[in-house]
Each structure stands twice: as structure tokens, then as C-alpha cells.
């Protein structure tokens, strides 16, 4: 009962790969976006804020379909990336990573933005008067102080990416070994006779990964806040 079939192991592997890559790639973009939304005033800020949050409120299937329309093999953006950079999203695990990254992005940006908002701007001003260029101020003052929020954002994005189903299956379908994640595999197993045991096993795996991520985030958060207040 507790030994996974090779297909199930593959689904676990695909899920982890997809979620990790989605989180890692969207993290720098997320930090930049969060910083821009928290600190800068620019034309179209509200629009950017809206676009970032769109995947949170749109039906995932719609997001997946929009991705298919823009990054599909024959879509303009997809063709451009494939021809010039050799990056193909359609029906590849990279597409699954893109879809789950897009879905996790608003959660990530929200968490990071909140923590950047909480950083006292006069600390940044102090760093500036001490001769630090704004980029350095960001790297050595703002980012370290916002680190707990950055970690929370990354974990949320990872968890969302791990469980993503609707956008992924719409965009890159459900191909075992390529785009079939745990969620898609569970869905498939529930559709076939005698698939219940496998679905249950994957569900347990899913719960374990999610719990591990939560505990890891808790530990990391404690560790970072200890850096600032060694006693409290």
C-alpha cells in the first residue's frame, strides 16, 4: 500500500521540479515587483498591481487558456521564444512551471510587499546619508529586513505551485513524465477503476510535502527574527 508505483514517483518528481523552478524563477521578479509597488510612484502602477493580482481572481482555467494563447507553439510569444531562445513551453514541464509560477506570483508579491512596507524608510534614508547607493541600500538594508516576508512569499508560491491544477492542465495538458504533477495524477487516478489506493498514496505524499514546507518556513522565520532580536 505504501510503495509508490514508478508512474507515481514520476508525478512526485515532476511536481517538485515544477514547483521549485516556478518559485526560484519568480522570486527575483517577485521581489522587484513588490519593491516597485511598495516604494515607487510611476504611471500605470494601479494597472500593474491589477495584472499581478489577476491570476488570484480569474478562474485558473482562464489563466491557463490565456497562457496557451500567448505561449503556445503557434502563438506569437511562444514562437518567438522557441525560435530565438529555444525555450518551448507548450506541453513541456517548463510550461507547467510557467503556469504554476504565474498562479503563485500574486501570493508571493503580496507577502513580500507587506514586509517591504514595514521597513522604516528612515532606515533607508540613514543608509543613504552614510553614502550607500540606492541599490546597496536595497541589498544591505531593505532586503535583509524584509527577509521574513520574502521567505513567506516563496513558501506560499511553492505551495501554490505544488497544488496548481486548472491553469496547468489547460495550458500543458496532463502528460505522464512531462507535465503530470501530483494533482493531475490524483485526478487521473480517480477517473480510472481501482485508482483509489494510488490517489490516496499521492494525497499523503502531497500532505507531507506541504507540511514540510510549512515547518521549514516556520523554522526559517524564527531563525531570521532571531538575527534581529537575539533574546526576544
Amino acid at each position: 500500500m505504501f510503495s509508490l508505483s514508478p508512474e507515481e514517483w514520476t508525478a512526485v518528481g515532476v511536481s517538485l521540479k515544477v514547483a521549485l523552478v516556478a518559485t526560484a524563477v519568480s522570486l527575483p521578479i517577485g521581489i522587484f515587483t513588490a519593491f516597485a509597488l511598495a516604494r515607487w510612484r510611476f504611471f500605470g502602477k494601479t494597472l500593474l498591481d491589477g495584472i499581478v493580482h489577476l491570476p488570484l481572481v480569474l478562474p485558473p482555467v482562464v489563466t491557463g487558456y490565456v497562457l496557451l494563447l500567448s505561449f503556445g507553439r503557434h502563438a506569437p510569444l511562444g514562437a518567438f521564444l522557441a525560435d530565438h531562445f529555444g525555450i518551448v513551453f507548450a506541453f513541456r514541464w517548463t510550461g507547467a512551471a510557467l503556469a504554476s509560477g504565474v498562479m503563485g506570483f500574486p501570493l508571493m508579491v503580496r507577502a513580500i510587499r507587506l514586509s517591504i512596507d514595514a521597513v522604516d524608510r528612515r532606515l533607508e534614508a540613514a543608509a543613504g546619508t552614510l553614502g550607500a547607493h540606492p541599490l546597496w541600500v536595497f541589498l544591505v538594508v531593505t532586503l535583509p529586513l524584509a527577509l521574513p516576508g520574502v521567505l513567506v512569499g516563496a513558501i506560499l508560491c511553492f505551495a501554490k505551485a505544488l497544488g496548481e491544477f486548472g491553469a496547468t492542465i489547460t495550458f500543458v495538458s496532463n502528460i505522464p513524465g512531462q507535465t503530470q504533477t501530483i494533482s493531475a495524477a490524483i485526478y487521473t487516478l480517480t477517473q480510472v477503476p481501482n485508482g483509489d489506493v494510488g490517489a490516496l498514496r499521492l494525497t499523503l505524499i502531497s500532505v507531507t510535502i506541504a507540511l514540510t514546507a510549512l515547518v521549514a518556513s516556520e523554522v526559517l522565520q524564527r531563525w531570521t527574527s532571531k538575527q534581529y532580536h537575539p533574546i526576544e
Binding site: D120, L123, A125, T129, A132
Partner: protein, 364 residues
């Protein structure tokens, strides 16, 4: 050499300030909302003036006509905030070294060890800022600003958040910093005792305008300082030199061009220059030199102005030899009965017990 001539309009507040500094401590003095801190932010590049110029040594930091605005991080000004603003994620040592990472090697004139020694913070170096008291934080903040090798140190009410005891602990440290590292300081405060003690030049601000500029003895306590203090807050500042300590009586004798000032307590070696803060309510005025009184401090001077209104009180301003202004509060009746007039030679009597061993510090 610092030159400031700026104006700025922000909502209903208008600031128009011009002054210069030739070194030493220049104090921007005035009530809250007078534009002191804003002026400091303009010098630091944390705010932008609508119009004007700011020059620091041979560099133009701001010139609105020429379109010059040097960014804050290129100005090399050390800013000390009222609430220290230490980086909470860095140790005291790293806070102190912060400015070093960004200064060029050739510009490092100020030595780490001597700053740490002057401020007495050796034992704090490995601590986290969250484990420091308010006074300790402020000392580290001063050290941090100093170690960025600034061309000017800007201090924004650095002692306002501290209790009197901490304040009296840090004031001499600021004096030491001033004397040892020769960095010009612009010091913002609404506390007369701090300004009297530290400043060589005072710029009095009121509602965004400069109302007086000059040495502390001449401008502090002036009637038009716009501070709106109640009468128990009015004080003037006398600059005097320690003559001798009468340790037998526990008194210190000071010499002022207008006469001798007796201070309770011992206030340093002979020759040391002190500024004595005298409350206007502690001064009695006489038209003849009195004798047979317990008062030891009697200063002769000229009555410069008498201000009265419908109320019972009168404010007398005396000009003392040497240029210091002394303010005395008395009653309209006394002015009438002594028939005091501007230009009269008068004597100011100050009770020694009103000047306590904190010497240069106003009580309370």
C-alpha cells in the same frame, strides 16, 4: 564652510532660510514646526527646495537655477536622527562600519578606534542595537555618522528623546566630538541648554523664517525669538570663564565682563569657558549697586528695552559689557516705581542657588 539659502512651500507651510557656517557648531533653534528639521533634511538631500542654493566647502549641493541637485548618498553628510535609526539586523560594530563600506579609502580621515574611545562604546561593539539603552543607541548613531567621514555632521534633536541624566552624559561627548574631530556640526534643537552649551552660532527660526543669527549670548533669550515660552521658560545665556574654585564653600567663581558670577558646585579648571543659563524669573534688577544682601552675583549693564503690555509683568532686557543679553522679568509696578527707562545703568542680581552645579544647564 556651509552656505544655505533656500525656500520651500509645502501645503500651508513656507520655509525661507538663509545662514552660513564657518565651522564649529551652528544651532538651528526654535519651537517645533519652525522648520528646523526640514532645513536639515534639505542640507542632507532628503528633501528638495523649491528655490535656492546649498554649498558645502567648494561643492554646490543644490542650485535650483543651475539645475544642480546632488543625491543624498553623494553628499557626505553624517546625519544623526532623533531616534538613532540604527540598523537592527547589524551589530553595533557593523553599524559603525556601515559608512566605511561606501567611502573611498583616501577620504578616511577619522580613525575607528579614536571614535569608539571618544564615545565610550568599546564594550558595546558586538551587541545588537536592540540591546542598547536610548543613550547608548544615540552614541552609536553619532559614531556611525562620524565614521562615514562626513564634511558636516547634521544632528536632528539627538537628545530630545533622552532623560536629563542621559542628556548630561552625552552633551560632553558631543563637545568632545566637536573639539577632537573638527567636523562642522549643524545642530537642531528646541532645548536652550543644549544650544547654549554647544553652539558657537545660533540661528533662531520661527514659522519658517530666521528671526535672529548670532552668538548664543546675544540671541538666546531675545524677546522676539518667537518661542512663545511662558515666563518660567525664558532664559538668557552668559558666557564666562572659570576664575577659581572655592572648594571650601563648594562654589565656583566665574569672570564675566559685567562682573563675577558665583556658581554652586565645582565647574572645571580655571580658564575653562562656560555658558551659564539664567532664568529670567531668577533675575532681580536694582538701580544702585546694592550692599548688605546675600546675593553674590551682581552684574552691571545698560537697560536696552522694557516691554510691557496690559498684564502685570514687564520684560527687561539688559545689554552687558561683552555683548551678552540678560533678560529679567519683573512687574509693571516695579518699572513705574523705579522709573526705569531704556539706556539706564542698572544692576542685575542673580541668586547663586539659582545656578546649580550643572552649571551650563537650565534646571528642569
Amino acid at each position: 564652510m556651509i552656505l544655505v539659502d533656500v525656500s520651500l512651500k509645502f501645503r500651508s507651510f513656507e520655509l525661507a532660510v538663509a545662514f552660513s557656517s564657518e565651522g564649529g557648531v551652528v544651532a538651528l533653534f526654535g519651537p517645533s514646526g519652525s522648520g528646523k528639521s526640514l532645513t536639515l533634511n534639505l542640507i542632507a538631500g532628503l528633501a528638495r527646495p523649491d528655490q535656492g542654493r546649498i554649498c558645502l566647502n567648494d561643492q554646490t549641493l543644490v542650485d535650483t537655477q543651475a539645475g544642480i541637485f546632488v543625491k543624498s548618498y553623494r553628499r557626505r553628510v553624517g546625519f544623526v536622527f532623533q531616534d538613532a535609526q540604527l540598523f537592527p539586523h547589524l551589530s553595533v560594530r557593523r553599524n559603525l562600519m556601515f559608512g566605511r563600506w561606501f567611502s573611498r579609502r583616501g577620504e578616511r580621515a577619522i580613525d575607528f578606534d579614536s571614535v569608539v574611545a571618544t564615545l565610550g562604546i568599546e564594550h558595546l561593539l558586538e551587541r545588537s542595537p536592540s540591546h542598547l539603552s536610548g543613550g547608548e543607541k544615540q552614541r552609536v548613531a553619532i559614531g556611525r555618522a562620524l565614521l562615514s567621514d562626513p564634511q558636516v555632521l547634521l544632528m536632528d534633536e539627538p537628545l530630545a528623546a533622552l532623560d536629563l541624566e542621559r542628556k548630561l552624559e552625552i552633551l560632553p561627548l558631543i563637545e568632545n566630538v566637536r573639539d577632537e574631530f573638527k567636523v562642522p556640526i549643524i545642530y537642531v534643537s528646541h532645548a536652550l541648554d543644549e544650544v547654549a552649551r554647544l553652539a558657537s552660532k545660533v540661528v533662531v527660526l520661527s514659522a519658517g523664517r530666521v528671526t535672529a543669527i548670532g552668538p548664543p549670548g546675544q540671541v538666546l533669550g531675545m524677546t522676539d525669538d518667537g518661542l512663545g515660552y511662558d515666563r518660567f521658560e525664558r532664559s538668557s545665556v552668559l558666557t564666562a570663564r572659570v576664575e577659581a574654585a572655592k572648594s571650601h564653600y563648594g562654589l565656583t567663581e566665574l569672570v564675566h565682563p559685567a562682573g563675577r558670577i558665583w556658581l554652586s558646585g565645582l565647574a572645571g579648571p580655571p580658564g575653562r569657558e562656560l555658558r551659564v543659563v539664567v532664568k529670567a524669573t531668577d533675575v532681580t534688577v536694582a538701580t544702585v549697586q546694592p550692599t548688605h544682601l546675600s546675593v553674590r552675583t551682581i552684574l552691571g549693564g545698560t537697560l536696552a528695552s522694557i516691554e510691557t503690555d496690559e498684564g502685570p509683568l514687564a520684560t527687561l532686557t539688559m545689554t552687558l559689557p561683552g555683548g551678552d543679553q540678560l533678560v529679567a522679568l519683573t512687574t509693571r509696578m516695579a518699572v513705574q516705581e523705579l522709573s526705569l527707562r531704556s539706556g539706564d545703568q542698572v544692576f542685575a542680581l542673580i541668586k547663586t542657588v539659582a545656578l546649580d552645579e550643572r552649571a551650563r544647564t537650565r534646571r528642569g
